[in-house]
């Protein structure tokens, strides 16, 4: 029995298209039953699986420029399959790397809330539930039955809408298929983006849009070969599956901690 070629679901976000409207954040909150509080003024305590950051080039008026950067979980693959920062440190096997899809899962009932994964995640993509969720009156009826609500004391994060993958699989089984088509499995943020800035698909499949946009180089841990593409903190070697596109040099520079005079040329990571 030959092993089928594994999938590697990933995302390409075009920052030149992103208007910072926050539709992806709203869609994500609704799709995944993300809890919120009455007072969300302290953003350090807010839970946002998808968060839009505002970047600026820091120059005075005529040259000033801003860019919005949506940040889901990066679903890092690491230097070898499944060597994600969070998966390797979890003492409870509550977070797991799925070889078949490349998705980093979080099992809420398994997590005991040590928050080691949060410390290890360089992208601040993981959030801790300090309180049990309290939904406004009647809102429980609007929760998605496909995502279990979390309780106080566990960590949660973006799952690339894995339940949508499961449901798409169910539908495919009914048609006697085991493989999914590109448009059958799309995350909520991808579908919600009005500017079409987010693209989602299989990075191992040359027919998928994400592959054509990012052109990942499998010999160098998926480093993008498209000169406009970059990944966040590329040189850490976390090998994230979320790629960003921008035609602006300063935006691409903002993706990692470059020194002032350092060139952004595609240098391999430290291990080579």
């Amino acid at each position: 029995m030959k092993h089928k070629k594994a999938k590697k679901y990933g995302m390409v976000i075009d920052l030149d298209k992103c208007t910072g409207c926050g539709s992806c954040m709203v869609a994500c909150m609704a799709e995944n039953n993300v809890p919120f509080r009455k007072d969300e003024s302290n953003k350090l305590l807010s839970i946002t699986w998808m968060r839009v950051y505002k970047l600026t080039n820091g120059k005075p008026f005529p040259n000033t420029d801003i860019c919005y950067l949506p940040r889901p979980c990066m679903h890092c693959e690491g230097q070898h399959e499944g060597h994600s920062p969070c998966v390797t440190v979890c003492p409870a096997i509550a977070t797991d790397y799925n070889i078949e899809t490349g998705i980093v899962s979080q099992i809420y009932t398994r997590c005991f809330g040590c928050r080691y994964c949060m410390a290890s995640c360089p992208y601040h993509a993981r959030y801790f539930n300090w309180w049990d969720p309290v939904w406004p009156d009647g809102m429980e009826k609007y929760l998605s039955p496909n995502v279990s609500p979390r309780m106080r004391g566990v960590v949660e994060k973006c799952s690339f809408c894995f339940h949508k993958y499961q449901l798409a699989k169910e539908k495919a089984f009914m048609k006697g298929r085991r493989e999914l088509k590109e448009d059958e499995y799309q995350t909520a943020c991808t579908q919600a983006c009005p500017a079409d800035a987010i693209t989602f698909g299989d990075l191992n499949n040359p027919n998928h849009a994400v592959y054509r946009m990012a052109k990942p180089d499998p010999k160098h841990h998926g480093r993008p070969t498209n000169p406009h593409a970059f990944r966040l903190l590329e040189r850490l070697g976390t090998n994230p599956k979320v790629y960003y596109l921008s035609s602006r040099e300063w935006v691409r520079r903002a993706g990692d901690n470059y020194l002032e005079n350092e060139s952004i040329a595609k240098k391999p990571a430290h291990h080579e």
Binding site: N98, F162, M174
Partner: protein
């Protein structure tokens, strides 16, 4: 000075007196030991049996509350009447989701009016059908919220029959009493009838272990720690040749466990 001496003497006398007293008590107990051995063992045996009965008989009775289904249902009678067997009432929707518990919509075709003479049917038609109300069935196999279960994956893709997990429910003439755990709120069918957790048939229990039992068979058979060594890889290849589909080369998607990934069944 003399007062202190007196005190000291008194203390010494007291101590001596105690010694004598204790030694006399020891003699007493030694004498009693010969007679009390039997009752103590008897008391122990009674206690043992009492706690065994408490744990195996009384505790399960206290743990589960017994609830009757709103109306009784005869599977045998219905299977004989309908055309497509089980799938007449328990069917897949087009999007791959499964309609497990029938809605009024499925019953109403025949039960628009009273068909027979059974009390439960009369109750059903009068209380639910004529009022357009859904029957609040108690679901024996309801799983916790964190569980994702796909009937399509098991029945359509893996070709597992209903009996493997649900047992011979289609051959029953009455609905059994629904027993709900007072602690967890789940049906007794999840834990299983046996309080000790023993099972004879695949449909006796519906816990995570029971799902894992089958899922493990289809993935790695070699221990998770040993799986990476070359020797075990070789063993895996040999197993693969002898009985395909059981070795590590066919391992599941999880990096942590080398079995099926946790997200396969958890949501």
């Amino acid at each position: 000075m003399s007062a202190l001496d007196d005190n000291a003497k008194e203390i010494a006398e007291d101590a001596g007196g105690e010694e004598i007293a204790t030694s006399s008590r020891e003699i007493n107990t030694k004498e009693q030991d010969n007679g009390a051995g039997g009752p103590i063992i008897l008391f122990f045996i009674i206690g043992l049996f009492a706690s065994l009965i408490l744990g195996w008989v009384i505790f399960p009775k206290l743990l589960y509350s017994k609830k009757k289904q709103p109306i009784d249902f005869n599977h045998v009678l219905h299977v004989a009447e309908v055309e497509d067997g089980c799938e007449s009432c328990h069917f897949f929707r087009e999007d791959g989701t499964y309609s497990g518990v029938p809605k009024l919509e499925q019953c109403i075709d025949c039960h628009d009016e009273i068909q027979g003479i059974s009390h439960d049917e009369i109750k059903f038609v009068e209380k639910y059908v004529s009022k357009g109300r859904e029957v609040p069935w108690l679901i024996y196999s309801r799983q916790p919220d964190c569980v994702f279960f796909s009937h399509a994956a098991h029945v359509k893709a893996a070709k597992i029959d209903c009996v493997t997990c649900h047992g011979h429910i289609g051959e029953s003439e009455n609905l059994k009493i629904y027993e709900e755990s007072r602690i967890t709120g789940y049906s007794r069918d999840i834990w299983g009838k046996s309080i000790g957790g023993f099972k004879k048939n695949t449909w006796d229990r519906m816990k995570m272990d029971d799902c894992a039992e089958c899922h493990r068979k289809n993935t790695a058979n070699i221990s998770r720690t040993g799986v990476k060594t070359p020797t075990n890889r070789l063993i895996g290849h040999i197993i693969d040749l002898v009985s395909p589909g059981t070795s590590v080369s066919n391992k599941g998607g999880s990096v942590q466990t080398e079995r099926d990934a946790c997200f396969v069944c958890h949501k």
